[in-house]
Amino acid sequence: MTPKRRRLWLVIVGMVTLGIATGLVLFAFQDSLLFFYSPTDVVEKGVPPDRRFRLGGLVEEKSVVRDGVTVTFRITDLNEVIPVRFTGMLPDLFREGQGVVAEGKLDGDGVFVASSVLAKHDENYMPPEVADALMKSEQWKGRQAQ
């Protein structure tokens, strides 16, 4: 086998690998790219019920209701409010009035069914998307004083 033929082989195998990888990436991006929406985005853009996305905002004061291991609460950006239902263990830092990001999809009745709820592991932490969304809603200025 000449060096030239070997190089040709390498190039072909390399291209095939890259091609497969590109296909995989494009295919995976279709399904697993999760967009972040604030409650206002959800109301304005009209997200279809079967689409997974991440919803972020503040946990509305006095909205948390526990029923066994199922919790319902409302996420607000101080403009719009979306009700959320979640079954599972809430993160340690989940509090009313604190920033939160939930991942899941809307059911037919406009309730966001979350498969996971994140409240970051730091008491001063406001998820950056949430801070942005709150800024945009123009109801909230700067980080909350702790």
Binding site: M1, A28, S32, L33, V69, G88, H121, Q146
Partner: protein, 660 residues
């Protein structure tokens, strides 16, 4: 005063690194032996000065000197001593200092153990390490000085994030950094070889042990990090494809490829340019990893943009290192003489395939990690690339790697016959098919992917064992003969078998713990019992207990199996005094066969507590397998080829290598 000594030592270290980074390489170029000889004392000096600075910062943490800003914002007088010390690297400034300490230690070791290196190559390698050191020292001194003073000094510190107060995480960064920085040695060898314009088997024999050292530490660091995530975060998961995890996984993939391609350079004098390129890529990815985690860009692109000094420096440094070395590669690599030929079916070719796939996998992880950052910076759109992306891209790319790992070592160099080798592997193939069918049968409603996972486990494990048995002619020769062969096998052969077995064990742990786990989530009142796996967990009650710097809600769970008591588990939710922050402390009963994992959450106000109990079969083999891999790497390093008989460089004129 101590802090000022540390600061001063760092400035001196910068000057020494500057000398180490310039004079030896110039000396090697101009033929000035005195300048070349300077590399060794300079590297010793560099190490000593950085060690002094690191010692000074450690002292400030130990005595809780809150007039030092780093200490004040990351430590607290009431913290246990262990975490005061490990807090040194639990923050941005200190971790950069740790990075540079390890770099100077590696450069010192290269100078000390590099006695058998040609002086010119050694001088160039040490110079490259010195220049990397200059970059990091400038970054520390200009943007992240760990010795900055506060006036007035606060009465007490702000404390370390409670999540980080854990032995697993305390020692995770040093191991990870030993891996990251170890790759800088491979990088330095690559750049030095490019400057010299030649790569030969002796070069690979020097590079491989260093790369293996880095790879072992990186493996250990990643395993430790995932183990920490498993028991500390309380979600029962052990890998989340989080950008921080990806940042360490990408260099690991590249380093794994590098460890394998260096074999081809050493044995067959082929794949030289590719190996050099891999060394550059691996180190670039570890730089990227360090900065992704340390710059805060992952938390928010905007926070990064609002404090641009660090960001701009980081980008500049990355551009100089990556761009500079790639430019050097582009101009010099064509001059490297191509070595041994090989056919598309040969051991070389199988290693090329392994390299291509690992590099592609690293590329897809890179894309998934950086894509959200770019999209946010360019369009302001917020997206997350989550585990589904990585699983659906990574598994198809990694599966052929695993398939090839069983075949590759059985192929001979230069050319071989694939069908012949598969014929020898027919027993392993049969076992794989049986394992796949058995998994299919026992799976129930588990994920179909488990069939693939179990098949790969048996294929890879069986292949590794078969290859070993084949080498010592087990059952084909008298026992005495096999025993003699087993004793005479080089350690690197054992290293390969052990590391490949480790990968099989890890895949087994991942597959089985995922497919056959049992999870129960419920509100439990004292006296209630839940069945999970083959075990019954009875909740006896919860009480508040006090720890050294926290108070905790502690639940008591009695675990029985068929009515016989097994153990008692005490999961906790801790509230730390210094920050209004809780952490979940899962209670885990690990055994080689299965883990029981109990988490207690908030009270429901009516005497019940939210509880979550997992039964995870074979989950500990994920980490035991990683330890096998590390042990295999260590065996390979200790191979006598790397220790005895200074690898001698084939005499060949530089001009001949240059013109070929």
């Amino acid at each position: 005063m101590i802090a000022e000594i540390g600061h001063f030592a760092l400035i001196l270290a910068l000057l020494v690194a500057l000398v180490q980074g310039t004079l030896p390489v110039l000396g090697a170029w101009r033929g000035n032996d005195a300048w070349v000889a300077l590399a060794r004392p300079a590297s010793a000096m560099f190490f000593v000065l950085v060690a002094i600075a690191f010692g000074c910062l450690t002292e400030a943490f130990v005595v809780s000197d809150f007039s030092v800003a780093t200490v004040a914002s990351n430590s607290h007088s009431a913290k246990p001593m262990l975490y005061k010390v490990t807090g040194v690297w639990g923050n941005h400034e200190g971790s950069l200092l740790l990075w540079i300490l390890i770099l100077s230690a590696f450069s010192f070791l290269v100078a000390q153990f590099g006695g058998n290196l040609p002086p010119g190559l050694r001088a160039r390698v040490l110079s490259v390490l010195g220049l990397v050191g200059v970059g990091f020292l400038l970054f520390i001194l200009l943007t992240s000085n760990p010795f900055e003073r506060l006036d007035p000094a606060p009465l007490d510190g702000r404390g370390l994030n409670p999540l980080l107060q854990d032995p697993g995480l305390a020692f995770h960064p040093p191991f990870l950094y030993l891996g990251y920085v170890g790759l800088s040695v491979s990088f330095a060898f690559a750049v030095a070889a490019l400057i010299e314009g030649r790569v030969d088997p002796a070069w690979a024999r020097w590079v491989r042990p260093w790369t293996l050292v880095a790879w072992c530490f990186l493996t250990l660091g990643i395993a430790l990090g995932s183990w920490w995530a498993y028991y500390e975060l309380g979600w029962g998961g052990w890998w989340f494809w989080d950008p921080v995890e990806n940042a360490s996984f990408m260099p690991w993939l590249a380093a794994t490829a590098l460890v394998h391609s260096a074999i081809v350079v050493e044995r067959r004098d082929a794949l030289k340019s590719w190996t050099i390129l891999l060394a550059i890529i691996a180190f670039s990815l570890s730089l990227l990893g360090t900065f992704l985690v340390r710059s805060g860009v992952l938390n928010s692109v905007h926070a990064f943009a609002t404090d641009p000094t660090r960001g701009v420096f980081i980008l500049g440094f990355l551009i100089v290192v990556v761009g500079g070395s790639l430019t050097l590669f582009a101009t010099r690599a064509p001059a490297l003489k191509a070595g041994g030929m090989f056919a598309p079916i040969s051991r070389e070719a199988s290693l090329v395939l392994n390299n291509l796939l690992l590099a592609t996998a690293a590329g897809t992880v890179l894309l998934g990690t950086l894509y959200p950052l770019f999209l946010d910076a360019l369009t302001g759109m917020k997206v997350t690339v989550g585990p589904p992306y990585f699983n659906s891209v990574f598994i198809p790319l990694f599966t052929p790697v695993v398939v090839a790992v069983a075949i590759g070592p059985l192929l001979s160099w230069k050319r071989d016959d694939l069908l012949g080798v598969l014929g020898r592997l027919k027993m392993v193939l049969a076992a794989t098919v049986i394992a796949a069918l058995a998994t299919w049968y026992w799976l129930g409603d588990g994920p179909v992917l488990a069939v693939l996972g179990m098949a790969l486990t048996v294929w890879l494990g069986g292949g590794a064992l078969f290859e070993y048995a084949d080498r010592i002619k087990l059952f084909r020769a008298p026992a005495g003969e096999s025993w003699r062969r087993a004793r005479n096998l080089p350690r690197s052969a054992y290293g390969m078998t052990v590391a490949h077995l480790g990968l099989a064990l890890t895949i087994m742990g991942i597959t089985v713990s995922g497919a056959w786990q049992d999870e129960k989530l419920q509100v439990m009142r004292p006296g209630e019992t839940v069945r999970v796996g083959a075990y019954d967990a009875t909740f006896k009650g919860a009480e508040r207990v006090a720890g050294p710097n926290y108070s905790a809600l502690r639940g008591t769970f009695e675990i029985t199996r068929d009515g016989r008591p097994v153990t008692v588990l005490y999961p906790e939710t801790r509230t730390y005094d210094t920050s209004a922050m809780d952490t979940t402390e899962a209670a885990i009963r690990p055994t080689p066969l299965s883990d029981l994992y109990v988490v207690i959450g908030e009270p429901d106000g009516q005497g019940g507590y939210a509880t979550r109990i997992y039964y995870k079969p074979l989950v500990s083999w994920i980490w035991i397998g990683s330890l096998f891999m590390v042990f295999g790497g260590a065996l390979s390093i200790s191979d006598r080829r790397h220790r005895v008989g200074a690898p001698s460089r084939r005499r060949r004129s530089v001009a001949a290598a240059g013109t070929a």
